[in-house]
Symmetry: C2
Subunit: 396 residues, 2 copies
């Protein structure tokens, strides 16, 4: 970040202070001599710097520092998705008495200009739906599993490469993507929703066989974050889904991110690129600083408080691992039919032994709650070696 | 446009005047009664409207109207790529004495927020290269030819559907994409180049056989507009090129547009969506109006005047149509070798009769000028039924 900021390309920006809790450890030679290093945040607040860049992450103490900076009339640029997701609306209000801004382009999809794209470029549309791949760690894991590896192997590789944390919960269980989705929904759909209202499903239970069956269905599997306005409510969810091979979402490989926005007037717009890592994030941060330096203020349309639910009507994929015996499919079909759910396809590869058979049922569009009730019954079957695993199939 | 502007979603914008040379013919019922229709542009200049939207197109008289509006201190929003490509720099200067803006997000790639994306979202990068599919008409024609049709047939279809003009010159010969490329280079590469300095090559000479051979090479064909800064000069060209099936550029179908930006820090960013047509263009125009209404001014980094040339070093595809006789390939190979050009592959489908054989030679990376000299010699061969046709092969 500091490196790009001190690049001669950006000679109208001046880096004045660096705050760090351990200056001795962090101090770097290549930072210009005029830059003041400090372990006291008050030095930043009391300086004449115009913009405070917050790269600490997390809710506290970062939130308090951002509050102090905005209250002091300084603009803030942050990459902190959690802070903006949980407290963005209240922090935004602090900018109102002053000619200062709170910008957070780096909080979602790193270097890809999705926030300016939605906030300015697509402000003239009525955006109805947002779908995205917002977590590079999950995309790395899933696009590797697509090639035949199992989850645990790929997670270990991602950890070795620095793409995944030692505790991968935030990424693989969907909380990171959820915070970003909350921000996108606020900016794009003008819908303000509490993160905890959006259901997250983990990718931990996926197995290599799911990718084999997905391919039979001309699909692959991605962690999809989606939000859609319908009848004044917000349908939203985060979790693994089947996506068609023809969908741009299936094209993103490795740690790439992608957002597809669907507007009433302009149709689909796709943003794609490198979501994470130091450089793309730094680009987004410097872009926001430049926007402030050049007097640009974003088109900040008010967001409405809405309730969220995950009741998309979707076709589903259900994977069963069983010790085979006669009558299993009939019983499952009966339980699905009792909830008015129609089976579309049954797939069973011949590669399994009868004491450990993996097969898949796909069903016609139904609500998650309908399917949940059917699976609660099915779950009790004695032949199951693990609970049935289901995912929605993303449709246009 | 007027329809979106009067949508209740945008209740902070008010449409006040509509200027048209023939009000009687254009006047529409659904436009609010308070809107004043006029055939005299002076009524617009003398009104208290804050923003003038120019949707006339072409250099004159549109340029004069935009000049008058900016001189009067009114902001201007335009979709006029030709005007911005040829006169954007001088018109931009007219905004300086006043707190007014000249925005033209709709001039490139219609509804896709490429201009705000580059101008704001990627301002913090050093963009090195831009590649795009900027003309929906050509993309419609080429993605249809990919399925086996000949150029004339598809052009007629595009004309019937309203995707192509009766005189398709601007689109198929590359002038439309060139104007857009000039604007992108100015905004993204900060390089100001005269449109006439960029070489355009037509797509008219493509035949269905080119797509068959392209497929053998795991490629398809698209009209590519590209610009790249190298050693202070701008390499730029517009014309048909082979693009790898693995490139996102090969994914765009129908009238879609796509821009790929490559930055020193952030790597590749892809923007894709509906480039043309009334609705996407209107979205971009309304977005620009909102940006002005909300006090946003774009990050307008100064562009440097640069010279352009088309001397990319690229592998090439060359198609020959010949009346077959012994020694043709040897002669061609000799002429290429005399210019230090190495052959990579020779492809000849067995489907042709000997008096009308179509075959293809691909060559290792070379400069266009090198290849041009070799082809000038080859062109004189008596066996050729039409001049050899060459295209660059887009590499990473």
């Amino acid at each position: 970040m500091a490196r790009i900021l001190t690049d001669p390309h950006f000679d109208d920006l001046e880096l004045t202070h660096i705050y760090n809790r351990n200056v001795a450890r962090k101090k770097a030679d290549w930072v210009p001599a005029g830059v003041q290093w400090t372990e006291d945040f008050a030095d930043i607040i009391n300086s004449d710097a115009d913009v405070v860049v917050e790269l600490v992450g997390g809710l506290d103490p970062a939130g308090e520092w951002v509050r102090q900076a905005l209250t002091a009339g300084k603009s803030v640029v942050t990459a902190n998705k959690k802070l903006i997701a949980y407290r963005g609306v209240e922090l935004q209000k602090l900018t109102q008495p002053h000619p200062c801004s709170l910008l957070y382009g780096a909080a979602v999809a790193g270097g890809i200009p999705v926030i300016p794209g939605l906030q300015q470029g697509l402000a003239g549309d009525r955006i109805l739906k947002l779908e995205g791949i917002l977590n590079g760690t999950c995309n790395f894991i899933l696009s590797k599993m697509e090639q035949g590896a199992e989850y645990a192997t790929v997670l270990a590789e991602a950890q070795d490469l620095g793409y995944a944390e030692r505790d991968p919960t935030e990424d693989v269980d969907g909380f990171d993507a959820r915070a970003k989705l909350v921000i996108l929904a606020r900016v794009g759909l003008r819908a303000d929703v509490a993160p905890n209202e959006i259901n997250c499903r983990t990718i931990r239970h996926l197995v290599a066989a799911d990718f084999v069956y997905a391919q039979e269905l001309h699909c692959t599997i991605r962690q999809i974050a989606r939000a859609e306005l319908r009848d004044g409510a917000l349908l939203a969810s985060v979790g693994p889904m089947l996506v068609k091979e023809s969908s741009p979402l299936s094209w993103s490989q490795g740690t790439e991110n992608m957002v597809i926005s669907t507007g009433m007037f302009g149709g689909q717009t796709i943003f794609s690129g490198h979501g994470a890592g130091g450089h793309p994030t730094a680009v987004a941060v410097v872009s926001d600083i430049l926007a402030i330096a050049h007097g640009g203020s974003p088109v900040n349309l008010a967001a409405r408080k809405v309730a969220a639910n995950g009741e998309f009507r979707l076709p589903h994929y259900i994977r069963f691992v069983v010790c085979d015996r006669p009558g299993i499919v009939a019983e499952i079909a009966g339980d699905l039919a009792a909830e008015q759910i129609n089976i579309r396809a049954i797939l069973q590869k011949p590669d399994y032994s009868s004491d450990h058979t993996v097969f898949v049922v796909t069903v016609e569009p139904c609500l998650s709650s309908q399917l949940g009730r059917a699976l609660a019954k099915i779950q009790k079957m004695d032949c199951l070696l693990s609970p049935p695993f289901e995912m929605g199939i993303l449709t246009d």
